[in-house]
Symmetry: C2
């Protein structure tokens, strides 16, 4: 029996989700006006403040433009949204979007080595020591789910060492997309997160402040699983 916490969606949550669904699904096209708050409240059977909260959140995410006195306009989420929207695009309606998944993999493989390089330049021994501890923790388990979480901790430390706020934020965004899928990815990620030697090599390169070596080590660590998953995506896409 696999019990999971019940998801208690609040009313504004629900409204937000529905509106976003309409947008991603294409029913609410860009540059078209959203129905008025009162209208939405009536149609959805909720209060106007609830609708407002949802709409304000959409505005915060850049999905709509709200102008006092005029109708609020839907914007092209592809052009305005930040990485925080990634989880919803990756799994729209529970189904994995292959194009988005490919994009995430590409980005991961491109960003990871750079972060490792910066960490080698700036992180120093403190980062390396913390990484050693994490690798030790990884050695204590075989469970690929736990291993993935530990690997995320590991990268979190590398990102700290890189000391570059933009890469930190990019990492945050990618992690948010990755986490919901962690269980589904247990099998494909097992070879990567089980490759402790690669994690140690990277930690040592960072300790030695050898940024080219760190770069290569990170690529060595990330490439195999990335290549495998990209190949799988290619096959799936051809099937259709």
């Amino acid at each position: 029996m696999a019990l999971r916490p019940v998801s208690r969606r609040s009313v504004p949550d629900e409204v937000f989700e529905q509106l976003l669904g309409e947008m991603v699904g294409g029913a609410l096209a860009a540059d078209e006006p959203l129905p008025s708050e009162r209208r939405l409240a009536e149609v959805l059977g909720v209060s106007r403040p609830a609708v407002r909260e949802a709409i304000q959140r959409m505005a915060q995410a850049g999905l709509v433009d709200v102008r006092h006195g005029d109708a609020t306009m839907v914007r092209d989420f592809r052009r305005r949204a930040g990485l925080d929207l990634l989880p919803r695009l990756l799994l729209p309606g529970g189904q994995l979007d292959l194009a988005v998944a490919r994009s995430v993999l590409e980005a991961r493989l491109h960003i990871g080595p750079k972060i490792a390089e910066l960490a080698a330049q700036r992180g120093g021994r403190d980062t390396a020591a913390a990484l050693d501890d994490t690798v030790k923790a990884m050695a204590g388990t075989e469970d690929p789910i736990v291993l993935q979480h530990r690997a995320l901790d590991y990268w979190d430390l590398v990102v700290d060492g890189a000391d570059s706020i933009v890469f930190r934020m990019m990492f945050n965004g990618l992690r948010l997309a990755y986490q919901p899928a962690i269980e589904a990815l247990a099998t494909v990620m097992a070879p990567e997160v089980g490759n402790l030697e690669a994690y140690r090599t990277l930690a040592n390169a960072i300790r030695a402040a050898d940024s080219p070596a760190a770069r290569d080590a990170a690529e060595e660590l990330l490439r195999p699983a990335t290549a495998q998953m990209l190949a799988a995506i290619d096959m799936l896409q051809e099937d259709r």
Copy 2:
């Protein structure tokens, strides 16, 4: 006379801004509870729905965790925030944060060539043709402000050509940080946005589907101004 649109911050805007300021400034530390909605409404002299809207927006941005029945907790924005927070970190209180600026430059130089490479693989002639048009438009002006906007249009097309949603979202985030500073950067960016030949070279590489050439061309285009600005930041940081 340089008239500018008056900024009409709504009450929730103002509340959001104040809370964020306290967080970035350190007065509201991570893992500490926020005052209750009623208390905040009272202290700030606004209605509770207004406070709620602000807090919901913070939750949307990952800055706080709100749990029904318990106090809402402040989270470490460095660890949770996405790129959408970048503009506020870059110019906290009107003053440029040099470390953040350095980080933006690093990211730009690392992401740009990769996007160009992908655009060469996937964009094809359509992308190249659109780029040609944009370069023509750039040739029609000397104003560095206008040129920067055109250059953004140019990159926007390249990103479209790259057809990778994650890089698109990263670009969106960087652009949002860049745009408010566009006037202040007129002088330092002038050499880059005035280098039309570099933009043409990149467009041609994309047309030829020559991804290594596109990569190099993008780097060639971005590196000079990046290096100059990084050097300037180094000097400013040493002064202190």
